[in-house]
Symmetry: C2
């Protein structure tokens, strides 16, 4: 039945997402992804050039939804900048307590592919993190903050640190600790001189 086509590609990416995220890139075979998507490996290779290509597609598909979620948490929190940023960490802690949580797919992939710096999947992950960093920087720039880029990077360090630490210790409370640190850093930056910005 050669019906689907476009939906097929999407179905493969969904299967890849589920398997690669929960078990890692190298532990999951192309056959397993195909089986989960309900088709054969040969069909998968019709839609994707190689496994690396599939890995890249898996991460590319996580980019937008992930960022959207962070923006939503930020927007929904009522209060100033410190409160809004801390809300991201609080929501993340809630996610991290679910049993299927396995950290950040981008970071785990970059750890698995650490010896292939130019790999497409790593470039996608780096771009994802840069997007988040830039969004934060813009949010900080709208307030009286002296060095919005530096502060955005510090928050990102706490965020990615909490992914790593919580994955290792399986203790989501570190995420709330990271949130407090983020609040402290933002409050300190707000208290300093700082030039304006619209």
């Amino acid at each position: 039945m050669p019906r689907p086509s476009e939906p097929t590609r999407e179905r493969i990416i969904q299967a890849a997402n589920s398997l690669f995220y929960s078990e890692g890139i190298r532990r999951v075979s192309v056959d397993e992804v195909a089986a989960k998507a309900g088709l054969t490996k040969r069909t998968l290779y019709y839609h994707f050039k190689s496994k690396d290509d599939l890995v890249a597609a898996y991460l590319a598909a996580r980019d937008q939804p992930n960022l959207a979620l962070f923006r939503k948490w930020f927007a929904e929190a009522e209060g100033g900048l410190p409160v809004k940023v801390e809300a991201i960490f609080k929501n993340l802690a809630r996610s991290a307590r679910h049993p299927k949580w396995k950290g950040c797919g981008f970071l785990r992939t970059s750890a698995e592919l650490a010896n292939m710096p130019g790999h497409p999947a790593i470039r996608i992950g780096a771009a994802h993190k840069k997007k988040f960093e830039d969004w934060l920087r813009a949010a900080f720039a709208e307030q009286r903050i002296a060095d919005p880029l530096k502060l955005a990077r510090q928050i990102l360090l706490l965020l990615d640190g909490s992914f790593a630490v919580v994955l290792l210790h399986r203790d989501a409370s570190y995420m709330e600790t990271a949130g407090e640190a983020a609040r402290t850093l933002i409050e300190t930056a707000l208290a300093k001189p700082g030039r304006k910005r619209g």
Copy 2:
């Protein structure tokens, strides 16, 4: 020639360390480790029960030297607590600029084995990080800091975050940014009330 014995085990661990750290656990075969150590796979299996056992030994061997290095950097820096902690990040940035640097072996292993929470290697990694956290907590407790454990954890989040971020972006300057954040957090904690401690 059945000469060596004890040195042999050490030689295998050195080979494993070099290969596992630079290429990852799953990308390196037991044969490759044996070849690098200058012996056959069968001999390796005489000294280690399984590959998992070898992985655990590889991480266990990194534990002490790693902690010693951090303590050395901390002790050598002249100044107060904020300066000493920031020195760790500065030295780490220097290491991270070497081309063979591949992040933190413990964190990368935990990312690779994310779906095996009970794996010996993960327990060793978690214990390693806890040791560092506790050492920092003790150092903070000697000063007038209200919640030394919380502060130690915040520094660790920055540290592990910088491993992850620098590995992804290949930009070691994030480590210096993390060091500045650490300094800010410590200075803030020192400025607050806080009870004493000997």
